[in-house]
C-alpha cells in the first residue's frame, strides 16, 4: 500500500480549475519531484494534501486513512509536514526558539504540568531543547543559534524552515519551491539540507522549478500542466517525453 494515495482529486476556486483530476501514489522512501509550468497546480497540490485547502472532489489517503479536508494541524500530527514558498518562519524569535517552537508535536506533557513546572515537563523541555540544538547544528545554523530570525541571510532562512520542518517529525515532507530565488551557493546549501532530510528516511514531495536540482535529488518525477498529471516516472524518461516538452515549450 502506498504511503499517500490521491484518487480523482480536483480543486476549483470559483471558475478556476487548479487541479483537474489527479491520481497519484507516493511510496515510503521516495523522493518525488513535482514540476510543471507556472500555474499548473503544483502548490495547490501541496495545499490540498497538507490540509490548507479542501479538495473539491476526490479522496486523499495517507497510510490508509482518509485525510482530505482534515485540519492542517491534524494532518501534521499524522506525519505530513510542509514548507512554504514564501518561506514562513517566526520573525519574532531567535533561531533556536524557532526550532523549539517547531518541536510542538514532540510534546507529551499537558498544559497543567507545564504551568506547574512538573518534573516530567522540565525533563521534556530539556529534551526538546537538546533536540532543537542538534537540529540547528545539523543544518549548519549553529553560528546563528541566538540570532533573530529576520536578520538571517536568505539562504540560511531557507535552511531554518527546513530545520523546523524536520523538527516536526515528518514521515512525509512537502517542500514548496525551497530553491526559489537562491544563487548557486545557496542552492548547494539548501540541496544539502534536503539530502540530510532524505538520509533520515523521510519521504519527500518536492515542488521545484530548478530542473537540475530535481534531477539530482529525486528518484521519480511527476509533471503537472493545467492541473493534470501529464507524466509520472523516472526522471530521465519523463523529461524526454513529448508531452512534457510540449507543455514547457508549447506546441509548434
Amino acid at each position: 500500500m502506498a504511503l499517500l494515495e490521491l484518487r480523482d482529486v480536483k480543486k476549483r476556486f470559483g471558475n478556476l480549475i487548479a487541479l483537474d483530476k489527479i491520481d497519484l501514489d507516493v511510496h515510503p522512501g521516495e523522493v518525488v519531484g513535482i514540476v510543471g509550468p507556472n500555474g499548473s497546480g503544483k502548490t495547490t497540490l501541496l495545499n490540498v494534501i497538507s490540509g490548507y485547502h479542501r479538495p473539491s472532489e476526490g479522496t486523499i489517503s495517507y497510510e490508509g486513512q482518509k485525510i482530505a479536508g482534515l485540519r492542517p494541524d491534524k494532518i501534521a500530527a499524522l506525519g505530513i509536514v510542509r514548507t512554504f514558498q514564501q518561506n514562513i518562519i517566526y520573525w519574532d524569535a531567535v533561531i533556536l526558539e524557532n526550532v523549539i517552537r517547531a518541536c510542538y508535536l514532540a510534546n507529551r506533557t499537558n498544559l497543567w504540568q507545564s504551568f506547574f513546572n512538573s518534573r516530567s515537563y522540565v525533563a521534556e523541555e530539556a529534551g526538546i531543547r537538546e533536540k532543537a540544538v542538534d537540529i540547528v547544528k545539523t543544518f549548519g545554523l549553529a553560528d546563528y543559534m541566538y540570532s533573530p530570525a529576520p536578520g538571517l541571510p536568505h539562504g540560511k532562512q531557507r535552511s531554518l524552515s527546513m530545520a523546523m520542518a524536520l523538527a516536526a517529525n515528518p514521515v512525509l515532507l512537502l517542500l514548496d519551491e525551497p530553491l526559489a530565488g537562491m544563487d548557486a551557493a545557496e542552492t548547494e546549501l539548501v540541496a544539502g539540507n534536503i539530502k540530510k532530510i532524505i538520509e533520515r528516511g523521510v519521504t519527500i514531495m518536492l515542488v521545484e522549478h530548478n530542473i537540475k536540482s530535481v534531477l539530482r535529488l529525486c528518484n521519480r518525477i511527476i509533471v503537472l500542466d493545467f492541473g493534470l498529471k501529464i507524466a509520472d516516472g523516472k526522471p530521465e524518461e519523463v523529461l524526454k517525453s513529448q508531452n512534457v516538452v510540449e507543455a514547457y515549450l508549447g506546441v509548434d
Binding site: 497538507s50 490540509g51 490548507y52 485540519r71 492542517p72 494541524d73 491534524k74 501534521a76 500530527a77 509536514v81 510542509r82 512554504f84 514562513i88 518562519i89 517566526y90 520573525w91 519574532d92 524569535a93 523549539i100 517552537r101 517547531a102 510542538y104 508535536l105 510534546n107 506533557t109 498544559l111 507545564s114 504551568f115 513546572n117 515537563y121 523541555e125 523546523m164 516536526a168
Partner: protein
C-alpha cells in the same frame, strides 16, 4: 545565557519590593481620593491583563467591557436574588463571563482576525441592549444596588462602608494572583504556543498546533478574570447599571496596553492601566473640558516616541541595565 539568571533575580527582587510597597501604601497614605484612584486603576489592571493575554495570542478583543458587565450583573443578581456571599458572587461573575466567552470563542475564533474583533464589538453592543431592556433580570436603566460585602476574619466583620482600604487589598490580591498566572503562562509552554499562534498562525497550524483551541483558552481565561474584576467593581460602587462599563472602556484597554508595552504580558498592562487611569483622572480634574483633546494628543505623541511602550525603555537604555546585571552577576 549569562544574563538570564541575574535578570530573573533582579526582576524578582523588584517585583517583591513593589508588592510590599503596594501593600504598605494605604497605611502611609490615608488620602481617600488617591486610594480610590488606585482601586479604579486596580480594576483596570485586571481588565488590561486579560486584554493583553488575548492580544498576545493574536486577537484583538474589543468587547472586554461586555465581559466585565456580564460578570458584574451576574454577581449583582446572585447577591440580591440568592443572597450569595461575596466570594461566591465574584466566582459566579467570572464563570458567567467565561461561559459566554467560550460560546462566542469556539465559533468566531476559528476565523479570528478582523472578523473576531468586529464580532466582539457586536457583542459589546448586544450586551448593552440586553442590559438596558431585559427589565425582569437586569432592572433596565435603574440597575441593581448591591450591599457591601460581608467578610469576617476571626470574629470581626470587616468594615467596607467607612473606608475603602479593604477594597484596595482585595483588588491588590487579585492583581497579584492574575499577574502570577499570566506570568507563569508566559514562561510555560502555553506562552510559547500562544506566541507562535499569534505571530504565524498558518505556520503554527502546519506544525501541529490547533489554533482555535489556544485562542479560545486565552480568551476564556481573560474573560474569567475580567468578569471577576467587573463583579468586584460592582461591589465597590455598590451598583451596576447599563452605563457602568462603557464601550469606550474596551477600546481604552488597547491604549493602556500599548502605552505600557506589549512585549511584557504583565508589567506592560499593569503600568499602562495605572498610568492611564491616573493621568486620565488627573486631567479630568485639572483640565476638565480640555481633557479629551489633550489626552488624545498625549497618547498619539506617546505612540510616536515609544511605539513599544514604556516597558521597552529597558531596551532603550541597555547600558544602564547591563551594568545592573553585571553587578548582580558578580554577587552571584
Amino acid at each position: 545565557m549569562k544574563f538570564i539568571k541575574p535578570k530573573l533575580k533582579l526582576t524578582t527582587i523588584l517585583v517583591i519590593v513593589l508588592v510590599v510597597i503596594a501593600a504598605l501604601f494605604p497605611l502611609l497614605v490615608k488620602d481617600r481620593f488617591t486610594l480610590s484612584i488606585l482601586v479604579e486603576a486596580g480594576v483596570m489592571c485586571l481588565l488590561a491583563l486579560g486584554f493583553a493575554a488575548v492580544l498576545r495570542s493574536g486577537q484583538l478583543s474589543l468587547g472586554q467591557a461586555a465581559f466585565a458587565a456580564i460578570g458584574g450583573y451576574m454577581a449583582a443578581i446572585m447577591a440580591t436574588k440568592i443572597s450569595a456571599p461575596f466570594w461566591l458572587a465574584l466566582l459566579g461573575g467570572g464563570i458567567a463571563s467565561a461561559v459566554i466567552a467560550f460560546l462566542l470563542g469556539i465559533v468566531i475564533l476559528r476565523i479570528g482576525g478582523l472578523c473576531f474583533s468586529i464580532a466582539t464589538l457586536a457583542l459589546g453592543e448586544i450586551a448593552v441592549i440586553v442590559f438596558r431592556n431585559w427589565d425582569q433580570v437586569t432592572q433596565g436603566f435603574t440597575g441593581i444596588a448591591v450591599n457591601a460585602p460581608l467578610i469576617r476574619i476571626g470574629g470581626t466583620v470587616i468594615d467596607f462602608t467607612n473606608t475603602i482600604i479593604p477594597y484596595y487589598y482585595i483588588v491588590l490580591l487579585f492583581i497579584v494572583a492574575a499577574a502570577l498566572i499570566f506570568w507563569r503562562i508566559n514562561q510555560s509552554r502555553l506562552g510559547r504556543i500562544s506566541r507562535s499562534v499569534a505571530v504565524s498562525p498558518i505556520l503554527s497550524e502546519h506544525l501541529g498546533m490547533y489554533l482555535t483551541k489556544y485562542r479560545v483558552l486565552m480568551f476564556v481565561l481573560a474573560a474569567f478574570i475580567t468578569g471577576v474584576g467587573g463583579a468586584f467593581y460592582v461591589y465597590y460602587g455598590a451598583w451596576i447599571g447599563p452605563t457602568l462599563f462603557s464601550g469606550t472602556l474596551s477600546i481604552s484597554l488597547l491604549i493602556m496596553c500599548v502605552i505600557g508595552g506589549l512585549w511584557s504580558p504583565v508589567a506592560g498592562p499593569i503600568i499602562g492601566a495605572v498610568i492611564y487611569t491616573y493621568l486620565g483622572t488627573l486631567m479630568q480634574m485639572r483640565l476638565e473640558g480640555l481633557r479629551p483633546l489633550v489626552f488624545g494628543l498625549l497618547v498619539i505623541v506617546l505612540v510616536w516616541i515609544l511605539p513599544n511602550g514604556l516597558v521597552a525603555l529597558q531596551y532603550k537604555f541597555p547600558i544602564w541595565f547591563k551594568g545592573l546585571y553585571r553587578k548582580l552577576a558578580r554577587t552571584g
